[in-house]
Amino acid sequence: MTKPAAATRSLVIEREMPHPPEKVWRALTQSALLADWLMQNDFAPKVGHRFNFRAPPMPHWNGVVDCEVLTVEPNRRLSYSWNASGEEAANGLKTVVTWTLTPTKTGVLVRMEQSGFRAEEEANYRGANYGWQKYVAGLERVAAGLT
C-alpha cells in the first residue's frame, strides 16, 4: 500500500532578548550551557555530528532525542534533526530544529522553528497507542497557555 505524503507543520517561537548574538550563540552551542537550559547532551557545533539530548524518561517518552547537526553558521543559524529514538523511532517524531539569530537595536531576535510534524501519523499513533485519559491530563496542564 502506498501512503500519500503526510502534511507537515512547524512550530515557531520567537523572542527578542537583550543580549549580543554571540552570547546567545554560546548558550546554543556549548554543551554545558545547553544542558543548563535545554537538556543533557553531547552536542558539538560540527555539521554531521550525531548526538543525543537526554531527559529523565516519562510515560510514553524514553527521554532520548536522536539528533544530527545540519547547519552551523556561527552567531546566525544553527539546525539539527530532532527525532524520536529507540523503539519510538519508527512511529515517533522526525523533525528539524532551526535556530536563527537576527541582531536588533537592543539585542537579538531568537527564532526557533521545529518543522516536520506529521499531523496524521502522529494522531493515529497517539490515538491508537496512548491512553486518551493520560493524554488529556497533559493537555489540561498546559491548556492555560491556549489563546
Binding site: L11, E122, A123, Q133, Y135, L139
Partner: protein
C-alpha cells in the same frame, strides 16, 4: 471540515463523551446499544453525545439495517495532537530558561 483545537477541547471536555470516544478507540466499531449497555447512561444521552462527537469529526456512523455502527476517527485529533506535540509549552519553558541562563552568563 476539520474541527479546531478549541472545538475538540470543548467536545472532549465532557467525561462521558470522552469515555465513549475512548471506548470506540480501544474496542473498535460499536452500535449505540452496545455503547449504552453497562455505561450507566441512557440511550438518548449516548446518541446525543455521539452526535456531538460526529460533528467534531471524532466518530463516524455506518448504517446497517436498523442499527448505526459507530467508530472512532483518531486522525480527527490531529489539531490537538499537533498543538500539544508541537512542543509549544515545552519550548516556551525552555526559552524562559535560556533567558535566565543569559542573565547569569558573562558577556
Amino acid at each position: 471540515m476539520r474541527a479546531t483545537a478549541t472545538e475538540l477541547f470543548s467536545t472532549l471536555a465532557d467525561p462521558t463523551r470522552r469515555a465513549i470516544f475512548e471506548r470506540l478507540s480501544r474496542q473498535g466499531e460499536q452500535t449505540v446499544h452496545a455503547l449504552t449497555d453497562g455505561s450507566g447512561v441512557s440511550q438518548p444521552a449516548v446518541s446525543k453525545h455521539l452526535g456531538v462527537l460526529k460533528l467534531a469529526g471524532l466518530v463516524r456512523g455506518r448504517r446497517q439495517g436498523r442499527e448505526t455502527h459507530y467508530r472512532a476517527e483518531p486522525q480527527a485529533l490531529a489539531p490537538l495532537v499537533q498543538w500539544m506535540s508541537l512542543y509549544g509549552a515545552f519550548w516556551r519553558d525552555r526559552f524562559d530558561r535560556l533567558e535566565d541562563l543569559l542573565k547569569r552568563m558573562d558577556q
